[in-house]
Amino acid sequence: MILLSELKIGEIGIIKKVDSDLHRLLEMGLIPGSEIKLIRKAPVGDPFEFEIKNYSLSLRKEECQKIEVEIRE
């Protein structure tokens, strides 16, 4: 298991653990079991752009470090 922030560009992770304090992220679809793909990082390396539930969402590294994922082979 790795942190969401450690995902490489183009890799798809399956969310394993999300802090329940991140209620708004949960409601945006970042729930355990969801697939999340890192599309790109912003020009200066932060924030990240992900594809989740068929739309693209941008999150900061700080929040990505509170989410654990498993890389989908």
Partner: protein
């Protein structure tokens, strides 16, 4: 029969505004939601009142937009809620739909953007969707007016037979049983017996919703109820509920929604360019430059035209009435008053035109994405950047645009430092004075003022967060929606609505003050400029500014600049008894500063940094809802301006 009300709700960027306009015809009434300053739009569809709720992803207690939307639905109980969904992105859009089904209210689901759905060859089974959602579902492409008349018919039909059926969407047994248990506990208390949203309250309790808990604490047995309930709430319930909703949604999607594999992603394609690792920032800078070029260059002929009309009108009136008190009032008071508002309209409208264009096209959220890292260093949100940039046009809409920033702290800091961003109203003062004093180097001087404003703003942001507003960083959530070609119609509507807001708010104040200015300058009747009430007042305050070497006339300029910064020049013109054009006025003003470039520059620094105009202050008060912050913004502006102006003179060697 009582008046019927319906409410529009939906995620941001689903075309909600377009549906609203299509339903009501674009005559919207814009006001604020009580207590907060999020914009509230209402309109009329025949006799039915249509309320446009803020765009929201969910109905949590932490985000201001969510709270407004849910409080409206719960407390004002509209007869019908219309949930507008982006049909190309149903999965996330349906989440809000399911949340609505938890509330005791009739819902119509509108699948918007069907034109894009067809282009993307997505197939949606509306009949099946209706069965899953247990509410009427209709499809539209509001941008082409497609499906709007059917939607109107459906709304009227639903309003007639708005008998509520128990048609909730159910979660799994374990959760449902705990929801029922909480409901049973609550029904024991009088306060809840008649509440027809017990199911919603129970679910929110499971989600540990602060506002619901607060409400329960307020009632007499509150603490006891909470004690009973808390045993039923598990730590991971928020995750369980969100997962339950999304798994129900995936079932719906599996059965009702077919999208071709690997369909072309508009945003993915263009973002390879606009968000390129190396070119992303230069591209953003070029777009920013183009935005400013457009705003200021295109405005020039319109401003000339306004000036010309103003001048001709003045001459005409004087020819008709001769030199009298009345003609002086009409020309110097009224026409100049209107003129000083209207002259900035081209700038303001053009600025809003580009902004609406960038926002509607989907680039503005990319700009926030590209710039977030820099704003993050200042403790702010990527969106603050856009708001600060807007400040270059006018601080009033800029302060209003800070609404889109979710965290209270970020919003407050963005509002507070906005006044340091040099707005376009200050520009005429710079141009006039710098043009006379520094001639061909005036551009550099003006640029240095803009830069100083930015540096001061950044420092203020850091200082405010270090000492005054200590709080956690806010959550950064930014959807990068599909790029779209903005339609002329909606770009213009957006521009007009925003520009009109400025006119209403600032226009009256500016007009009234210019008339007061004229009055104070003319009376007592028959006096020379040095005997007028205005001069007496200026002379009274002037000693405060004598360390800065500002004379009485400069002080009068500052006083009236408090009302609107562009009035500084009118004040000079009135006091010195010269016309407002550059050739005659500039040199006279320079003489006022003892022909010292350093004092002139320090005056410009003072103009840049001191308290924003009354209209902006009014906006700050409205947006923060706090007298404390409004007063703070006056005081820190004055203090900072005085200090920096003094510093300039110190460094410039005026004292040695």
């Amino acid at each position: 029969m009582s008046e019927q009300t319906i409410a529009l709700i939906g995620n941001p960027n689903v075309g909600k505004t377009v549906v609203f306009n299509a339903l009501t015809g674009s005559k919207a009434h814009v006001a604020n939601w009580p207590g907060v300053t999020v914009e509230k739009k209402t309109g009329k569809m025949d006799n039915i009142t249509v309320v446009d709720l803020p765009g929201t992803y969910s109905l949590t207690a932490t985000a201001i937009d969510d709270l407004i939307a849910r409080n409206y639905i719960l407390e004002d109980s509209p007869q019908l809620v219309i949930d507008i969904l982006d049909a190309t992105n149903l999965e996330r859009n349906l989440y809000l739909g399911l949340l609505l089904k938890e509330i005791n209210v009739s819902v119509i689901f509108v699948l918007n953007m069907m034109d894009i759905v067809r282009k993307k060859k997505i197939q949606i089974d509306l009949k099946k969707l209706e069965k899953y959602l247990k509410s009427p579902v209709i499809s539209t492409a509001a941008i082409n007016d497609e499906g709007i008349s059917d939607l109107k018919k459906l709304i009227k039909q639903e309003l007639k037979s708005s008998s509520l059926k128990d048609d909730r969407v159910l979660y799994d047994e374990e959760i449902e049983s705990r929801i029922t248990q909480i409901k049973d506990i609550l029904t024991k208390y009088d306060q809840f017996q008649k509440d027809d949203n017990l199911r919603w309250i129970s679910i929110k309790i499971l989600e540990k919703d602060e506002k619901v808990f607060e409400k329960i604490r307020e009632i007499p047995d509150g603490e006891k109820i909470i004690g009973d309930i808390e045993k039923l709430v598990k730590k991971e319930d928020r995750i369980l509920l969100a997962s339950a909703r999304y798994s129900y949604i995936s079932e719906i999607i599996k059965n009702c929604y077919k999208s071709p594999r690997n369909h072309f992603s508009v945003s993915g394609f263009l973002d390879q360019f606009f968000l390129d690792k190396y070119l992303g920032i230069p591209i953003f800078l070029v777009i920013l430059w183009a935005m400013f070029e457009f705003t200021f260059q295109v405005a020039t002929p319109f401003m000339s035209l306004i000036e010309l009309i103003q001048e001709k009108l003045g001459v005409l009136i004087i020819n008709l009435l001769g030199e009298s008190l009345l003609s002086s009032f009409l020309v110097d008071g009224l026409i100049n008053g209107f003129g000083s508002i209207i002259i900035f309209l081209p700038n303001i409208f053009l600025m809003f035109l580009v902004l609406s264009f960038l926002e509607d096209s989907g680039y503005l959220s990319r700009a926030a994405f590209v710039m977030d890292r820099f704003m993050y260093k200042l403790g702010l949100h990527g969106r603050s950047f856009v708001s600060l940039i807007l400040g270059f046009g006018c601080n009033i809409p800029a302060i209003m645009s800070a609404r889109s920033i979710e965290s209270e702290k970020d919003r407050l800091v963005t509002i507070m430092i906005n006044q340091n961003i040099s707005c376009s109203a200050r520009l005429p003062v710079y141009i006039l004075i710098a043009g006379v004093v520094w001639r061909e180097n005036a551009g550099g001087i003006v640029f240095s003022l803009y830069l100083l404003g930015i540096i001061v703003g950044i420092s203020m942001a850091l200082i405010l967060q270090k000492f005054v507003l200590k709080s956690e960083r806010s959550l950064f959530l930014l959807e990068l929606g599909d790029y779209r070609f903005p339609t002329v119609k909606y770009t213009v509507i957006h521009m007009w609505e925003r520009g009109r807001e400025f006119l209403k708010k600032a226009g009256k104040i500016i007009l009234v003050t210019v008339i007061i200015l004229w009055f104070l300058q003319v009376f007592p009747l028959g006096s020379s400029p040095n005997e007028s009430y205005l001069y007496t007042f200026g002379k009274f305050i002037q000693p405060i500014f004598s360390p800065l070497h500002f004379g009485v006339i400069a002080v009068i300029g500052i006083i009236f600049g408090f009302i609107a910064k562009e009035v500084v020049i009118s004040a000079f013109a009135l006091m010195l008894g010269v016309s407002e054009s550059l050739p005659s006025l500039g040199p006279t003003i320079f003489m006022e500063f003892g022909s010292s470039p350093v004092i002139a520059y320090s005056f410009l620094v003072f103009i840049l940094l001191y308290t924003p105009c009354v209209a902006a202050l009014g906006t700050i008060y409205q947006e923060t809802g706090s007298k404390k912050w409004t007063i703070f913004s006056v005081l820190y502006g004055l203090g900072l301006a005085y200090f920096m102006a003094f510093l300039v003179q110190l460094i410039g060697g005026v004292y040695f």
